[in-house]
Subunit: 460 residues, 2 copies
């Protein structure tokens, strides 16, 4: 069903790229005024983002739980719950919520990542109260029975088959993440491993729902043609009546050991027509940079990724696509929004006469050259403008705006962090950018994936 | 301290090789008669292996717990407990057990693997009763306090530093296992990851000890100049008086997802003088072959490994070392003794003018050629004689003999399985050997490691 959207860490590169770009904790200053932030008595956080351009609202509930919080052996349960939430409650059975949204011409969606699970609707403002009533209802009263769970398990397994198992690029991404992370569950795909998905039981679903779907683990975000007082009153009448059903455990995931090897993953398949290369480095996220006292490093990484590989003006693109013509495309981004560490990701497609080995050697060489180069004041100013502008443009979408706050708040950041981002980006120096590059572009902290056409259906 | 021996999955290749060869569930028929096997009332299993060649006994206690059973985030706790067991009890404080063994001219040792933890002493037969008394005492009465635990944590951390962190070959092995296994804890080093070891607490140690060090989770093995009745009486007077302190949980580890990529790990270090290559494939162990209804596959894998890469008569050695001279050494073995899946492991050192890439391509080519070749009756007979003889020779050591039963019983096998091994090896056909080769020599089920000298102290 189309309202069950991205399983983030899973999706193909392009898709991830788009989402990450949108998900950055960008400055909301250009549009956003008077963001309100308060907490209900039962511990549910509320963020209100006034946006009076049209009489619509985006209503979202974010849970501070994702695939990286799943019990061992139950990979996929977070995303499974996302599906089950569309089933029904005694008061609103058989997908009544979705039917209602459709009947008033609204849109709805849900998504699961490693760090969060979120549900949202975009409707005309007069339907906001109903959205809150229905969302609050399924937070507490979801019906989970064998009749509900068993057929939906087939649905998620089929989703995995079509999105991942039949897609060499997705298979490679999955294996790349699994080799990049030895201990941390970011190495586990959000959709789950098939062998664990097929064993997900009714009891697993109930236990996960009871543990995590409780108001003190949730964040309500309302963006749109509303003010904080209205939202507060409605929230108290709906979500405010829910009981704290559980105290979710601290989100302490296993940490990575020191890595001293470069890892490679290689997939050859007859389904691949165009070879490509991906390289991921583990680096601090916005959250872990703060946690480790590395203030400013995440902002510098954002600019570093943009300068080195963000778009057609970047150093790698100019050198390897435009000048040397060894690649037909190249790009990269910083995945900085995460409760635990983030990633620097690069991807490239070789020119027809270039092998992946040659392309990789050229990328390594140009990365090293970039780290020895100078960043002029003019370049620095340009890249800051570009990064800030991307964030500002993204806010033109009410949904994206709400999402920026949702991802921040479920990954250990605050509303203030989001609002202060532009100023922190402006303060980054050229030295800081090259320093984080030198510090983190260490091949032993990375994994490289090769995706190759298979000359024949051979197994070795 | 030298009685704290191998952390198996960790050790450098050569070492693993030796242990695995000894640890094979070899036939014990040549020497072993009248192996007795019974269970005490508290659930402790007992195996008695009469060996009257000399008036000595080997006394072992094996616990059905190892590093693959550790709680998430506590990598290293199994091996840590092994260390702590040498500290003391109220009745025998300050290493009194070890002092006693030394005073009577005995030997002692202990070892931890992914699947088991074992303690043993070799003493003159008149000291057997004391060994049993002392071992039973520390199964129930180990003193675990902050004073004991804190300094010993420094010892295991130092052990990791010297054995792994300063050893590129060990670092590579560790990373290779971690990329070979995505979900199964066989990907985690037995000694632990430093970042988790440094957090192992007194509470962790107590909880692990209380959960697993209980007679119903232990196996007593006595080999030597004894008979079953004597041992039974002594065991009832010592171990038989211990209470079942806990019911250890079922040993259900996360299973691997389907793998569709070949993984590579590369480590360059100035400490490496000689490049080398290792390739590991996940294959059934003796235990999982049975569990999955693949009778005979483990035995066929044992012979397959021997034919392809076991010693200087093997196909790979003859072709690549003797004939083409692209390698100066090459070898391989089947790690078939495991509660969950096993591995087929190959390793090679290139000739001076050969790169690892060239050597790997040559190995792939020769593996493919071997799978298309024919195994003559004569070759088959020779390799069976050789594999059986290795196992028979190993039994010349009383300790190895006891160890064969200990590894079998802690990894889901029985005394009968061990005793019947020779006959099952004799029954394997040439077709079965080539079939398991074709089935399991799939590069997507493998990881390859390159160990290389670093030309300079460079980071990328």
């Amino acid at each position: 069903m189309n309202h069950r959207s991205p399983v983030f860490r899973l999706a193909a590169s392009f898709f991830v790229f788009v989402l990450v770009a949108l998900g950055l904790p960008g400055s909301a200053r250009a549009f956003v005024k008077d963001v309100a932030n308060f907490t209900l008595k039962n511990g549910m956080q509320v963020v209100v983002i006034p946006d009076h351009r049209a009489p619509v609202v985006t209503h979202m509930v974010w849970y501070k739980v994702g695939a990286a919080d799943e019990p061992v052996g139950q990979a996929g349960i977070a995303h499974f719950l996302e599906h089950l939430m569309f089933k029904g409650t005694p008061a609103n059975p058989n997908g009544a919520f979705s039917k209602y949204v459709a009947s008033v011409g609204g849109q709805e969606n849900a998504f699961t990542s490693s760090d969060y699970t979120a549900y949202f609707q975009r409707v005309a403002k007069e339907h906001l109260a109903d959205m809150m009533r229905l969302e609050a209802d399924r937070m507490e009263n979801l019906v989970l029975t064998k009749d509900v769970v068993d057929p939906e398990r087939d649905v998620i397994m089929e989703e995995r088959r079509s999105r991942t198992d039949n897609n060499p690029s997705a298979q490679l991404s999955e294996a790349l993440e699994a080799t990049l992370w030895f201990e941390h569950p970011y190495g586990r795909p959000v959709i789950g491993w098939m062998n664990e998905m097929e064993k997900l039981s009714l009891e697993d679903a109930i236990s996960y729902y009871d543990r995590y779907y409780t108001p003190n683990n949730a964040i309500l975000i309302v963006a749109g043609d509303v003010n904080a007082d209205e939202v507060k009153q409605l929230a108290e009448e709906t979500y405010g009546k829910l009981e704290r059903r559980a105290e979710p455990p601290p989100r302490l995931r296993p940490e990575e050991p020191v890595h001293r090897t470069h890892r490679m993953v290689r997939l050859e398949s007859p389904l691949v027509t165009q070879p490509s290369l991906t390289r991921s480095y583990v680096v601090p996220s916005y959250t872990t940079a703060d946690r480790k006292g590395l203030a400013g490093e995440a902002e510098a990484l954002d600019l570093f990724a943009e300068l080195l590989a963000g778009g057609s003006t970047s150093a790698l693109y100019q050198k390897l696509v435009v000048e040397e013509k060894v690649a037909v495309s190249i790009g990269g981004y910083y995945r900085g929004t995460a409760l635990d560490d983030g990633e620097l990701v690069f991807f490239a497609t070789p020119a027809p006469e270039t092998t992946l080995e040659q392309l990789e050697a050229a990328i390594d060489r140009e990365m090293a050259a970039f780290l020895k180069s100078e960043i002029t004041e003019e370049t620095l100013a340009r890249v800051k403008r570009s990064v800030i502008a991307t964030s500002v443009y993204a806010q033109d979408s009410q949904q994206t705006l709400a999402r920026v706050f949702g991802t921040a708040l479920t990954t250990g950041r605050s509303v203030e962090d989001v609002l202060g981002w532009t100023d922190r980006i402006r303060a980054v120096t050229a030295d800081q950018i090259l320093s984080v590059g030198l510090k983190y572009l260490d091949k032993n902290q990375s994994a490289t994936g090769y995706l190759l056409p298979a000359p024949e259906a051979s197994r070795s």
